[in-house]
């Protein structure tokens, strides 16, 4: 927000200094990581913490969600499906060595 207020030339001049550049790079890192962070914390929250208003940054983490997922055996079947699709499509799409070998 503060950077947007500067003129383009000054903005670039500021980025040229290592600390301005570092700030921008780490801000972008926070932006990339924040949804991942939120996803992980949600997985450790109880329902009441997930829908809390205002959103809770501090809460008592619980493993209940993971236990529910792992105890309900379905997840292993889905995992197997993903594995079959991933390996199968990779096997079909990889450049097969005997296709590219030139006849002698």
């Amino acid at each position: 927000m503060t950077i947007g207020a500067l003129s383009p030339a000054r903005r670039l001049a500021r980025m040229a200094s290592p600390w301005g550049r570092r700030l921008v790079l780490w801000l972008f890192a926070v932006w990339c990581l924040f949804p991942v962070y939120w996803l992980v914390t949600m997985s450790l929250k109880q329902q009441v913490d997930v829908i809390a208003r205002p959103p809770r940054f501090l809460f008592t983490p619980v493993w209940d969600n993971y236990q529910t997922v792992l105890r309900n055996g379905d997840v292993w079947g889905y995992l197997a499906n993903s594995l079959v699709v991933a390996l199968g499509s990779t096997a079909l799409a990889r450049p097969w060595p005997w296709v590219s070998r030139r006849p002698t």
């Binding site: 670039l12 001049a13 290592p18 550049r21 570092r22 972008f28 949804p35 996803l39 949600m42 997930v50």
Partner: protein
């Protein structure tokens, strides 16, 4: 025929031909089975009134599906939404990706860590990430509005109004795919010959001038590839839109791909959906060809 005239060479030649055919067979069979036959079937369907509600009564209807498509308001709306989404998302990703790549190129500290973090949006399961965004964008209990209120700004109804819903989609797409452009741009930068840039610096050009007049033109070939990939991909985005807005509110974010899904999978009119898919394919081919052919028009002028 040649074999009969030149019996000496025949055996070796036949052997060679057989070898080539044998080697090409797996790829050809895959191509025909997985691409060409399904494509031919969907072209055929697009000229019929094939519907899963009456799968045994297929009648040839000629161009009826296409006429209905091009005259419908929902198609025009879908084209507009798709183009807006694609252009805005790819433009945002390009500017952000190239900018961050250029900054990262000069960075010396913690580069491996930054690189790892930047790849997270590409590595994570899209549906899980987009679902997280949906919760974060919730107007009353989402963390985005909480942070906006914290800095004294008005909360935003992210997914509730047509305009903001599209902006939110572009935001999420930018989050997910900027690292892709960043990756290609960073690769281009590290493969780049630094000598012209150093020469420009010696001649007294500032960092701003060097970037726009030297780095960017040299990076251009890489960016064309990245933009073509991203444009084709953004054009047929499904997961982000399906999970985040489902095409809503109303039909405000219903792109061509979602329109095809609605007609084919929900309304079961396969013929109409097939016509839509063919039109999308033609759009993609024309747009990507035009982009590749005309890429030079967008090339920044090098001042070497």
């Amino acid at each position: 025929m040649t074999a009969r005239r030149r019996p000496v060479a025949s055996s070796a030649k036949r052997e060679r031909t057989r070898f080539v055919v044998l080697m090409l067979a797996p790829a050809t069979i895959l191509l025909i089975g997985l691409t060409i036959i399904p494509f031919a079937i969907s072209v055929a369907f697009s000229f019929t009134d094939y519907s899963l509600t009456a799968p045994n009564a297929i009648a040839f209807t000629g161009l009826a599906n296409y006429v209905r498509l091009f005259t419908s308001a929902e198609f025009q709306n879908a084209v507009r939404v798709t183009v807006e989404f694609t252009v805005a998302a790819v433009a945002a990703e390009l500017v952000l990706g190239v900018g961050i790549a250029a900054l990262l190129h000069h960075e010396t500290r913690a580069v491996p860590a930054l690189r790892l973090i930047y790849l997270m949006p590409l590595a994570i399961t899209p549906v899980a990430a987009v679902f997280t965004f949906r919760i974060m964008l919730n107007p009353s209990l989402g963390v985005f509005n909480y942070l906006l209120r914290l800095v004294g700004m008005h909360p935003v109804d992210w997914l509730g109004t047509p305009g903001m819903a599209l902006v939110s989609l572009i935001l999420v797409d930018t989050w997910q795919w900027t690292p892709f452009i960043l990756l290609i741009a960073a690769g281009g930068l590290s493969a780049m010959d630094e000598e012209p840039l150093e020469a420009a610096a010696m001649d007294g050009a500032g960092p701003c001038r060097i970037f726009f007049h030297h780095t960017l033109p040299l990076l251009f070939p890489y960016l064309v590839v990245a933009v073509v990939f991203r444009t084709i991909d953004a054009f047929k985005t499904f997961d982000i839109i399906f999970v985040l807005t489902g095409g809503g509110p109303g039909i405000a974010t219903r792109t061509l791909n979602l329109l095809a899904y609605k007609n084919g999978i929900e309304f079961l009119s396969m013929g109409y959906a097939a016509a839509l898919a063919i039109v999308m394919l033609v759009f993609t081919i024309v747009a990507s060809q035009a982009l590749l052919r005309r890429a030079d028009l967008f090339r920044p002028k090098a001042a070497l």
